[in-house]
């Protein structure tokens, strides 16, 4: 035959708990009541956090902040499918992912408040600092999965990226290596419809982003990203495959960035309010709450209690954030390398001298002790 089919690929979309409340029990993951409660609680907490962070930014108590609203599922749920020794590589928007793994919110605030001490993950977790250059963590995630494979562990690496990031060449190279070496890499695309002002349609001409995975021999699936159960299922299956040596998975989770890109952005310049309103109806938290109420995992009192506790918790974290000493500028010199080279030692001494000069002229206040390792 002169024209033969040499490859065929199907890309599927998984939805378990639809926006309209339909629930496909046949596909639902088997999750304990505790797990379901944990999922709901964490997402509630992160939503409260997000609201609070935006207020802090407006009041000048926080720097530029990338909002989460609408992406509670895509941020938190994958993190809840993992073991501490699995690697997570969230995006800059991924405060929810870190929180779901146990990082205290005060540190998220600290980082976005412009203080490097805000990078502070639970000691025993394999949580990696995100990359502000979009997508530069993808090849690192591949290397992590590769390293774990070589060390003989079953740990996987989950790499969150945006629809925008999926256009970076890093995606291609990371997936190529991961495919060839059958690495436990889960490339989790939070397709929230926008990359700042660029719509998904302008980002790429393919029908789905998930289908890109086929180009690397990866398992590929699209899921409803506002459906906690679908995301849990897709990620858990990908993790199982990863642990099993069956190679990488691309998951495209369909969600929506309900807020501006960051507090420095004004989305009304480039997208319609109707679109936003449409997506409000698909809210991930509302949907999950209704389901838990319906299935009697929760009742109204419990909902209220979780909400209230979340607010108290976040308020406490904000207090803790604001109670930190100002950072000593000398901190910047700590932990740059195992042993600082001579010119950096000289430079730190110069800054020390400058700080003393400025203090003697009352231009800056007393400073707390410098933190971190030096030289």
């Amino acid at each position: 035959m002169a024209l033969t089919t040499v490859a065929e690929h199907k890309t599927e979309y998984l939805e378990i708990l639809s926006a309209d409340g339909t629930f496909d029990a046949s596909l639902a993951p088997d999750l304990s009541k505790e797990k379901l409660l944990e999922m709901y609680t964490v997402m509630t907490q992160i939503r409260v956090f997000d609201e609070r962070a935006i207020k802090l930014q407006r009041q000048g108590r926080l720097g530029t902040y990338p909002q989460i609203l609408g992406q509670e599922v895509t941020q938190c749920i994958p993190a809840l499918c993992l073991e501490p020794k699995d690697w997570i590589l969230p995006t800059y928007r991924g405060q929810g992912s870190y929180f779901a793994r146990g990082m205290q919110m005060r540190y998220s605030l600290m980082y976005w408040g412009g203080d490097d001490r805000g990078v502070n993950y639970p000691k025993d977790n394999n949580d990696l600092m995100f990359s502000i250059p979009v997508g530069a963590h993808m090849t690192q995630a591949m290397g992590l999965a590769w390293g774990e494979k070589l060390k003989g562990t079953k740990n996987v690496a989950v790499c969150w990226i945006g629809d925008g990031a999926s256009s970076k060449g890093d995606f291609h190279e990371a997936m190529t290596f991961a495919g060839v070496h059958k690495l436990g890499l889960i490339m989790f695309i939070e397709n929230n419809g926008w990359a700042i002002s660029l719509s998904r349609e302008q980002q790429c001409a393919s029908e789905t982003l998930a289908q890109k995975g086929h180009g690397y021999g990866a398992h590929s699936i699209q899921v409803d990203g506002n459906d906690a159960l679908a995301v849990h299922k897709a990620v858990s299956e990908a993790v199982a495959r990863g642990r099993n040596g069956e190679g990488p998975t691309v998951i495209e989770a369909m969600t929506y960035r309900m807020s501006n890109h960051t507090t420095a952005d004004d989305a009304s310049r480039y997208r319609s309010n109707e679109e936003v309103e449409e997506w409000k109806k698909k809210d991930p938290l509302d949907r999950f709450r209704k389901h838990l109420l319906k299935t009697e995992v929760l009742d109204d009192d419990a909902v209220e209690k979780i909400q209230k506790e979340a607010e108290e918790y976040v308020a406490g974290e904000v207090k803790a954030y604001e109670a930190f000493d100002k950072p000593n500028p000398l901190n910047m010199f700590s932990n740059n390398s195992e042993k600082a080279p001579w010119h950096v030692i000289e430079q730190r001494a110069e800054l020390e001298e400058i700080l003393k000069e400025k203090q003697s002229r009352n231009e800056i206040p007393e400073l707390p002790a410098a933190e971190g390792r030096f030289p």
């Binding site: 530029t64 490097d116 970076k168 302008q202 910047m332 400058i354 400025k358």
Partner: protein, 328 residues
């Protein structure tokens, strides 16, 4: 009075009006007008076939600019922050400055890359870098960085009209901070020519971008101490205006190079070396460099202790002066 950002915008607009081969491309530059609004109104005026919002892929942007330039267009590409410019270095190093020579003069690259540069805008990590040295070391390209609204416009027009690749750094903290008169008509500021930002007699401070303004503050402080510094705003980093620099140094006998990048291996090293090589006999003291520390740039709470402020420029100047005293 217009601000620095308007200078760039006007330069782009007038270049686009004058030549419909001028095309803009970059992330969020169209409908959104750029995250800093530098390109505000341009897609509206020129349409979405002259001003393109691209996918999130810097290498793609650079390669697209190369290809477009080869077809005779004059692309002006924006990389949203210069901290995200490393992915374009492959095109910059391997192709931008080599295309003309390796094709025997057949194919040329009349393109511009705009790179918002520098810190102190309270931005997140990686949004405050000063990577000019990576570009300046690369043969075959020009690197410019204005510090006034007037030059912002004139250098933009000159960059677009230049037949070879030009890297146009925009010291982003000047966008709304610095205001000045901008001639209405289309004009170009010559590439390769520095500007005396302030006349003085005791020491020359060679600088560029936002550090010009930091140096002006230092000059005011120093004046109180009876020290008069001359400030050279390089405007074009490479090719450097060697005559302009040397003329000033020969007058003052002393020089400080002030800039925002980590100091080691920076463009200040080149400027310092050139001055020593070519004005050794008139130098009363070694040229001092005042740059950022050779460590990762910290987040914004302590960033102003990383990037040199006026006080550090003053210290640099005083160091050249004290050296002299010691020798005398």
């Amino acid at each position: 009075m217009k601000n620095f950002l308007q200078g760039i915008n006007e330069g782009l607009r007038q270049a686009m009006e004058a030549d419909d081969k001028v095309i803009l491309l970059g992330e969020d530059i169209g409908k959104n007008g750029g995250v800093f609004r530098v390109t505000d109104g341009l897609q509206k005026q020129f349409g979405d076939q002259r001003v393109f919002d691209t996918p999130l892929a810097e290498l793609g942007i650079a390669g697209a600019a190369v290809g477009m330039a080869l077809t005779g267009l004059r692309p002006v590409a924006e990389i949203q922050f210069s901290g995200f410019s490393p992915p374009i270095l492959d095109q910059v190093i391997c192709h931008f400055g080599r295309m003309r020579n390796r094709t025997g003069g057949r194919n040329t690259l009349p393109l511009v890359v705009r790179l918002p540069q520098g810190g102190l805008i309270h931005a997140p990590e990686h949004h405050s870098e000063a990577p000019e040295a990576y570009f300046c070391h690369t043969p075959g390209i020009k690197v410019v960085m204005p510090s006034t609204p007037e030059d912002a416009k004139g250098l933009m027009i000159a960059a677009i009209e230049d037949p070879d690749p030009v890297i146009y750094f925009e010291p982003k903290r000047l966008y709304r901070l610095i205001k000045g008169e901008i001639p209405e008509e289309k004009y170009s500021t010559p590439l390769g020519k520095c500007r005396i930002a302030r006349e003085g007699t005791d020491c020359t401070v060679i600088t560029w971008g936002a550090m010009v303004h930091t140096s002006l503050k230092a000059a005011a402080e120093l004046e109180k101490e009876g020290v008069s510094i001359e400030i050279i705003d390089l405007r074009t980093l490479t090719p450097l205006d060697i005559d302009g620099v040397l003329a000033s140094v020969k007058k003052t006998g002393r020089a400080v190079v002030a800039h925002e990048a980590p100091n080691t291996g920076s463009w200040a090293a080149e400027v310092s070396s050139l001055i020593h090589e070519r004005a050794f006999d008139v130098l009363k003291a070694p040229v001092q460099r005042v740059g950022s520390w050779d460590i990762r740039q910290p987040l914004f709470k302590t960033e102003h202790f990383y990037i040199p402020d006026a006080h550090r420029v003053v210290r640099g100047v005083n160091k050249t002066l004290s050296r002299d005293k010691a020798a005398a």
